[in-house]
Amino acid sequence: MPDSTITLEIFRYHPEQDEKPKFRRYEIPYREDWVVLDALNYVKDRIDGTLAYRWSCRMGVCGSCGMMINGTPRLSCAAFLREYYPHPVRVEPLANFPVERDLVIVLEDFMHKLREVKPWLIRERERPLSEGEYHQTPDEVAAYKQFSMCINCMLCYAACPVYGLEPRFLGPAAIALAQRYNLDSRDQGRAQRQAVLSSEDGIWDCTLVGECTVACPEHVDPAGAIQRAKLASTIDWYRRVLMPWGER
């Protein structure tokens, strides 16, 4: 049916004009091969140019286009209209984040938390380039590979009720990325990250709801990363208590 349509209910909020957000309905052509992002682009190009949202790659790599689609955090470039048709599709900004405008969230908090866990290789002594690269066996790569797939799309934060209730919580992606470097054989920075990870707002805030892992489009399993960090932290504690003479 070439002339069938689908309804989008889009969360609109313009801080210059609106006290409160409202939903606006848009009737657009239904195409079986369209994703929600295509539908938003249609609205912006043809119906209402004031609609604001983030997107870039259209192929699940950049992590910019995360939104709540019918209440579930998803990449809008990976959510097909045909999954919802003929029912209306409700599009909202990612939950648990303040909204800048329409579907655009304020992401400073996440950026700050990301920097806090120092997601880069930390060496006690940087090897000069002349000594060549750091080698890793396939096994050593496999130890952290899964956690390195994170695209910083923040869907896991939108899925996490702990972050919603306690915004100081470091959160799934930041902890998963800290684990990614902690498990990297080239890295020597675990002690530096530990102060943030095992702090009051770190791993122990997590009550293992597990929805971060369900929401993750890259199968990073942040819930698993957090629980493994808890185990490592607990082992640290026992070591300190039972073997105070051991190396710190």
Binding site: Y13, P15, E16, D18, E19, K20, P21, G71, T72, P93, A95, N96, F97, P98, V99, E100, V106, D139, A143, P161, G164, L165, T207, L208, V209, G210, E211, V214, D221, A223, G224, Q227, R228, K230, L231
Partner: protein
């Protein structure tokens, strides 16, 4: 000009999807476990207080309401135990011979230990 809009979190957020609801159910099991622990402590206290006190407490525990509570507490304990055992593979990632030990094995070890310890306790209690 009002600035960023802060999305409120509804008090019924845990009814929004099945996973949140099951999570809350798992958290709620702790209330029944705590209740059971208190009843058990009182049992020890009454045992120490003498035969009459102990017998009258046993009669109190045999009341239908108390039996119902214990059945619910048992169901809660089982639900909590099973959900946590099934989560252990997330926490314990063991590599042996260059391969991950399968999740079913990691969770399975817990179940085996559970059965063995339960059998041991049952043997101690039931041997007379």
């Amino acid at each position: 000009m009002t600035g960023p809009y802060h999305q409120p979190m509804s008090p019924t957020w845990w009814l929004r999807n099945r996973a949140y609801f099951l999570f809350m159910l798992r958290e709620l099991t702790s209330v029944f476990i705590a209740g059971y622990a208190i009843l058990l402590l009182i049992l020890l206290y009454q045992l120490n207080a003498g035969r009459d006190a102990y017998q009258s407490y046993l009669r109190f525990l045999a009341a239908p309401g108390m039996v119902a509570f214990h059945v619910i507490a048992l169901a809660a304990a089982l639900f909590h135990t099973v959900t946590w055992f099934n989560l252990t593979p997330k926490v314990l990632v063991v590599r042996m011979g260059g391969r991950h030990v399968p999740a079913s094995v990691i969770a399975g070890v817990n179940y085996v230990a559970w059965i063995v310890i339960s059998a041991l306790v049952a043997w101690i209690v039931l041997r007379g």
